[in-house]
Subunit: 325 residues, 2 copies
């Protein structure tokens, strides 16, 4: 990651211009601004707005240990070999407190570190619940504006946070691997509903057949209209590249399917609406924090603890103070 | 779970009265009302308010497979044997879409199913992000009002959701087990900061010593003032009851420590404030959804997709519409 303090400060307009020209340091600085929730963030967003929408966004998710980083890295290689510019955001929503997320096997990505056609960035939650959900779409926009053909967003698949982040993607790839517990456990975090492509990674191991079969069995139970996309279940060995061509092919097919059925525009509109709502909710939440001490949640909570007020009545008071209604 | 439709509808006041008398069906109905976000919810909250604050709330969290259900069940047994009335909420925040969470080993709790001094309830997320975070504290209040001496809240430890739910507790127990990956992975979800008691469960297995050592090593790195609580690292075999006495003893000690240092009141005030904020944020979020189509996030999102508006400017518009500022 570039040193953020080495060069004199550039203006937001200069940074956006440099990022659009594909300069990695400018891209990195812009992402830092949005990740930090810096004051310049609004200016960044405004400057980016006319230059986005070109990139395909692919989400990769799965439980720890399924080989997300290895698969992402292999995908980067495959996309680079056909000349694409690729952005990677490795998002770890699971560490709300420590600020420094322990991102698994970043070392796997090193092989692409010197490739000028690849931008790689790790993002972790910096304390604020929902902060990552707001920052990640902005980071995608930056990579998009920087001319990436594909942006890969890799998240640990463990709960609601990454489901929210996966909803960023045009296409969501859900990874599993043999020996990760049964397939139902592996997909319990609601990912069945968000998956466009399933990958059984480490498919050279015992249990790969069973895992693929279980997934296909579950998918067969889901009701789908004839025109609806049916998520394929692929087998890969990302570490050797086996099955990668099929994965790339499935991504292309899904993208074509989305475009053909008007679904791409629908997904992107829904994504933008969710993004706007998340930012607005964050702003409202901050306004709650900025209420005078006497009108604050803390003051009301004292009355709740004393049994004088129930939490819903307290919340009504808070909302009324904020909105006048 | 009792059949909710078998008897004629009781009023909220009657239900609260019956719950306070310890009648399980009334308790179950009230929890259903808050879980469903029923209109009666506010009335329930208001009726409960004067009757809460008596219960000790203990959170248990840990990754899938560490033996949370077995440990919870063993704890129920230990607390029952000294005459406590015990409530159990098994919360699964990891399934935002399916509505029906796959709650691991509920069968472990069956031994307490006929015990009138034990209330057991599973709660799952019913779609709304944050819905569980709002409903769980209410369910705790119901069990509290129903005369539970201890309420155990068991959650899958995988992300921000359960960290939020763990913040419900007076005392949070974080479980791990040998063979769940290294201890650092096991506690990566920010749980190091929320743990008051660590339990290495399945301590009869290989690797228990190493897991306990790793945890103690990490704890030794944390800066703590001399008067601060130092989380013990216990070893248990919940399935045989080994180590359970020490766990109960640690819970009692922690509770005494909290009371002694004024921390119990502080935690409960912070908990109530978070609860009020969560409800208020949910209300504000619903009001965003209720804006007229022309002023809605969806309408603004169309302009974002078109590159005419950036998402922050769109969010400003939304917030202004709602608050007049």
């Amino acid at each position: 990651m570039p040193d953020r303090s080495a060069a004199p400060r550039a203006s937001v307009a200069q940074l956006v211009e440099a990022a659009r020209a594909g300069r990695p340091r400018a891209v990195a600085r812009l992402i830092s601004l949005v990740e930090d929730g810096a004051p310049e963030l609004r200016e960044v967003a405004a400057a980016l707005a006319p230059h986005t929408g070109g990139a395909r966004v692919v989400g990769l998710t799965g439980a720890p240990g399924v080989g997300k980083s290895t698969t992402t890295s292999a995908l980067v290689g495959a996309l680079r070999s056909r000349g694409e510019r690729v952005g990677v955001l490795a998002v770890d929503p699971s560490s709300p407190f420590t600020g420094g997320a322990i991102l698994g096997d970043r070392v796997r990505m090193q092989e692409h570190a010197l490739d000028e056609g690849v931008f790689i960035r790790s993002m972790s939650s910096r304390g604020e619940l929902g902060g990552l959900a707001a920052a990640t779409p902005q980071a995608v926009r930056i990579l998009d504006a920087a001319g990436c053909d594909t942006v890969l967003v890799e998240t640990v698949g463990v709960g609601q946070a990454e489901v929210a982040i996966a909803s960023l993607a045009d296409t969501t790839v859900v990874l599993t691997a043999p020996g990760m517990g049964d397939a139902i456990q592996a997909v319990k975090a609601g990912v069945l509903e968000i998956a466009d492509v399933f990958v059984v990674n480490k498919a050279d191991r015992d249990g790969a057949d069973a895992a693929a079969r279980d997934l296909r069995g579950m998918l067969a139970l889901a009701r789908r209209e004839p025109y609806e996309w049916r998520p394929p279940v692929l087998r890969c060995v990302a570490s050797t590249g086996d099955g990668l061509d099929e994965l790339v092919e499935s991504l292309d097919k899904h993208r074509a399917h989305l475009a053909e059925h008007g679904e791409l525009a629908r997904r992107r509109a829904a994504r933008a609406a969710a993004e706007v709502r998340a930012i607005a909710t964050g702003q409202l939440s901050r306004r709650l924090d900025e209420l005078s001490p006497a009108a604050s949640a803390t003051a009301l909570a004292e009355r709740v603890v004393a049994g004088e007020l129930d939490p819903y009545a307290a919340a009504d008071t808070l909302v009324h103070t904020l909105t006048g209604r």
